[in-house]
Amino acid sequence: MSAPVGGAHRGHAKSAAGFLVDAERAAWHDRSLWFMRQKRDRGTAIAEWESLRLAGSALKAHAMSRLADLLEEFERRATANGVVVHWARDAAEHNAIVLGILHADGVTRVSKSKSMLTEECGLNPFLEARGIEVVDTDLGERIVQLAKEPPSHIVIPAIHWKREEIGALFHRTMGTPAGETSPDALAAAARVHLRDALLNAGAGITGANVIVAETGGVVVCTNEGNADLGMHSAPIHIACVGIEKIVATRDDVGVLLRLLARSGTGQPVTAYTTHVTSPRPDAAMHVVLVDNGRTRRLADEAMRAALHCIRCGACLNTCPVYRRSGGYSYGHVIQGPIGAILAPAVDLDAHRELPFASTLCGSCADVCPVRIDIPAQLLAWRARSAAAGALPSGYSTIFPFLGWVLSRLSRFERAARWARRVQKVIPSSWLSGRWNPWTRPGRTLPVIADETFREWAQREEGRP
């Protein structure tokens, strides 16, 4: 596994508190993501949207139900098309396979287009430690790579960077004029810088948005065209793919393509959608199929549907917690609501806070193009945390007490009466002490009403 990402050791709440110290920046981040959500709403305003989501959900469930057969069919067809198919049980095997392909051809410089799987496997640090130069070629990924950071968003890796900061970074690393902050000028400099890497690499590594059993093909979507520059220029193309990316047919691909970009950025489709089934006559093509915990999740019925995720980023953009806490607060390669249900399966103990980093408002499930019930899984992970004795600190004392109080009506009523009286007589500074996470500066406890709803209802009913 790659190293924990930005503050995993501190937990979500503490990292989020750090993110919120700069209130103006936090508000800017919130607005940026909400802008994406609004674009998504405009992009998904087509008559058949809900039936498309149903089809997306169904085709993924179908693929998971026939996963072994489909992977075998994919391997058979891809092999017949001249593609070399590899299988990796985990991140270490994946990295070793990629290194083996590069070593066999003496490759020392590779270009890489966006792939969350290679982030998950920690491919970059692994290759770099072995003397291979890796250039991330998606502009956002290149920005965070030059800054030696991981992506903070699965679709917009540098969403947390301001243009002035990117200008300073490019000045230092690419020699752009000092003080240059125009996105046009900065992107133009990056174009020259990245084209050099893309056209002169010994191998082009890509991810895959979908792989297709029916054709043995790999489908890659980008807006910049970097994946195409990489895979069609280098003598070797390596596609690194999680096994859950497979679908049965080209028809299925059509459904997912209609859902993906609309959900992610509000575009009707990405600028480039590449369906590659065979290598060029003068080149080699490899597909590395990676498990790395996916079969374990497949066997976990309650959590299985998380494998349907097509990594559009819509749940991040809409999430009130993600927008106000930033990608690094999750401490996992996949952030936001989907990350909060994926990470605990990797290590429940390390990511025990993530299922609680949610208000369970359900907005993620509403926008998910393949209808993953994320809130239900968040809740299920909370229950598993409790059962495993892995509740976040604080929760483990208060939850059993609350459970005891709330499990009997008479106890609850007595507690409510008692709390109402106590709040009136004790100084408010006691209740808003540092011990109480609900009363940080800027937040106060509401005054408890003089009568309960029940008492009010009884009084009203008793009236003539």
């Binding site: 039936s51 049980r89 502009l139």
Partner: protein, 169 residues
Amino acid sequence: MSARDDILAAIRSAAVPPAPPAQLPSAPVQQADGLHDEFLCVLNEVGGQGAIRAEGQPMEALLAERLGAARADAIVLRGRFAVAENAAVYVDAADLNARNDIVRAEHLVVIVPFSAIVPTMHEAMRLMPADSACGWFLSGPSKTADIEQSLVFGAQGSRTHHVIFDRGT
């Protein structure tokens, strides 16, 4: 056991119950003569430029008019068909000199037969050649919004993207 056998065995032992294939959603009925309008409207939104070549109009004159000085740096490709809902044109590697032509070109022109247009990706996937080695759906020029979500065209691939519906053939 090999990694392959281990993974397949782990999948089979997960014993996921059968789930039926998806039904393609039925799109609202669209008028065939409105498809070009829809395509050109969406193409404009995604930063591309479209034109229709009238019967008998010389292609080179039309290209010179549409591209101006950029004509010298343009690569002209054959597109097999167009998709109205997302302004994508399908280009197959069999029609190219080199696969990376589609991204190396500073300016890209795709010429599509006028009648080769479908409403959505559902119909489009079925028109893809069954034996295609590599094919693209191209929708507008290369773009990025990775710097503070400011839209910049010509990120890495083509700076301008033209689609010409050809009535002259």
